[in-house]
């Protein structure tokens, strides 16, 4: 990227980013505890557990249909889980805190989702809004910022992802790589505690993958906590602090990139890595 401004700037994003040290719980920032999920007879997640430390980048690999995307949607509180827990900063989210674990009503879930940023494979930008409008929407609708203030913050964020000259363009007028960078800016501007990426480069032409990965690498360098479902082995090797292998709804391997790619313990991981190389 050409600009040198950091993607994460507390002053720009507003005061809520500054957390008193006392509330920072020890232990993982985001934690999945024995998550199970089935669609009808199809058991998509069969007891998935893992933690993501603050500032960690967790890459999730695995064949298609292994439950990676579903896992991410469950972590983003977009899909109800059948059993298990999602914990953010040690607090169980998505369900009532007292009594039986009933799912929260959509309004209250919405409130909890503000702390979790999500980037989708097919961008899912709002076609009726400009790049600026897309990034502004969460600020005005969710964070309650004024339009002028939101435009300022959103414009700055778009500049940081290298799209300062494209703020007035509609999604249909942007390349896939540009659209995905707008989508990252849209999530980032909400100042989330963790960012979830669902195969963010899978829908891109090969020559556009680099610009999106560059933004994500920058983000990782600045200390953002990230969970990235990806097929980009190179990215996982370079950027991830830990790599997970999922197959048939289970985590079959969880290690540092050196362990994971150097000496995978599990046979399924070995076969997968041979297939994608």
């Amino acid at each position: 990227m050409t600009d040198h401004k950091p993607l994460l700037d507390p002053a720009l994003l507003g005061a809520e980013v500054v957390e008193p040290v006392s509330t920072v719980a020890s232990g993982p920032l985001l934690e999945a505890v024995d998550i199970r999920k089935r669609y009808g007879r199809n058991e998509v997640l069969r007891g998935v557990s893992f933690g993501v430390e603050r500032g960690d980048v967790k890459a999730v690999l695995g064949p298609s249909g292994s439950g990676k995307s579903t896992l991410l949607r469950c972590l983003a509180l977009l899909e109800p889980i059948d059993s298990g827990q999602v914990r953010l900063e040690g607090r169980t989210v998505g369900v009532r805190s007292s009594g039986r674990a009933a799912r929260l009503p959509e309004r209250e879930l919405a409130h909890q989702r503000r702390d979790i940023g999500m980037v989708f494979q097919r961008f899912n930008l709002f076609p009726h809004l400009t790049a600026l409008g897309n990034v502004m929407l969460g600020l005005t609708e969710v964070r309650g910022r004024s339009k002028a203030e939101a435009a300022q913050v959103a414009g700055d964020m778009l500049e940081r992802v290298g799209l300062g000259a494209r703020v007035r363009f509609y999604p249909s007028e942007l390349s896939g790589g540009q659209q995905q960078r707008v989508a990252i800016a849209r999530a980032l501007v909400m100042n989330p505690k963790v960012m979830l990426f669902d195969e963010p480069t899978s829908a891109l032409d090969p020559e556009l993958v680099g610009e999106v990965l560059a933004v994500m690498e920058e983000l990782a360098r600045e200390g953002m906590t990230m969970v990235v479902v990806t097929h980009e082995i190179g990215f996982a090797k370079r950027v991830a602090s830990r790599v997970i292998m999922m197959d048939e709804g289970e985590i079959v391997e969880d290690g540092t990139p050196t362990e994971f790619f150097g000496s995978p313990r599990h046979e399924r991981t070995r076969r997968f890595l041979e297939a994608v190389h």
């Binding site: 977009l78 959509e106 919405a110 503000r114 989708f120 899912n124 009726h128 929407l137 609708e141 509609y170």
Partner: protein, 244 residues
Amino acid sequence: MNFDPTVFWQALTSDTFRQGAITAIALTVVAQLTAVVIGLVLAVMRGSGNRLLRGISWTYVWIFRAIPTLVQLLFVWNALPQLFPSLVESWFSPFLAAWLALSINEGAYMAEIVRSGLLAIDEGQQLAARALGMTPLSVFRRVVLPQVIRVIIPPTANEFITMLKITSLASAISLQELLTYTQQSISITFRFAEYYAAAAIYYLVIVSVFMAFQAWLERRFLWSSQRGGGERRFVTALRGMGAR
């Protein structure tokens, strides 16, 4: 050919015809707009998780699409005041009765149009909006609705034009609209061709204005940074209309 241009011109420029046209336009606009609101509510009910709401919506569409519009019009005007004597009052005018009957009837059709619009929206749109932390109402207003509007403009414009023509049914309940005046004039003068032609011209002009408005609205929902300024936009819209 026995066509008297003077009679035709007199009819075209007469106050009664203008009055009739204004009544027809007014009835079309209020009835159709009411129907759009009814359709929106019904379509949302139809898509809800609540079985009762879904059932009510389905039943509404079933009943009011099945019964002929003229029957519904006559029912509201003749039968309702008999059932509810308070409607015998003078404020229950033919215009009000026609508004009520036509919007209830049209609401059933609009419900299906809005439903098709809702089905056309990619589910990823709601997902992305929810992921931002937007509440259900906010997701609907800011993300779903603008996209639905774009999809339903062409079929709704169709319905507008159909509604204009259906308002002539209201002559059956003594509403003084364009066709009523035409019939009255003919019954006095027995000049069929001239008066029908004048009425036809009125309908043509009104529909043309509707079409220009539709073209302008469609351009507003183009979602392109290349969209020009206001005036140029309207001119291009008119040109676009001619090209169709």
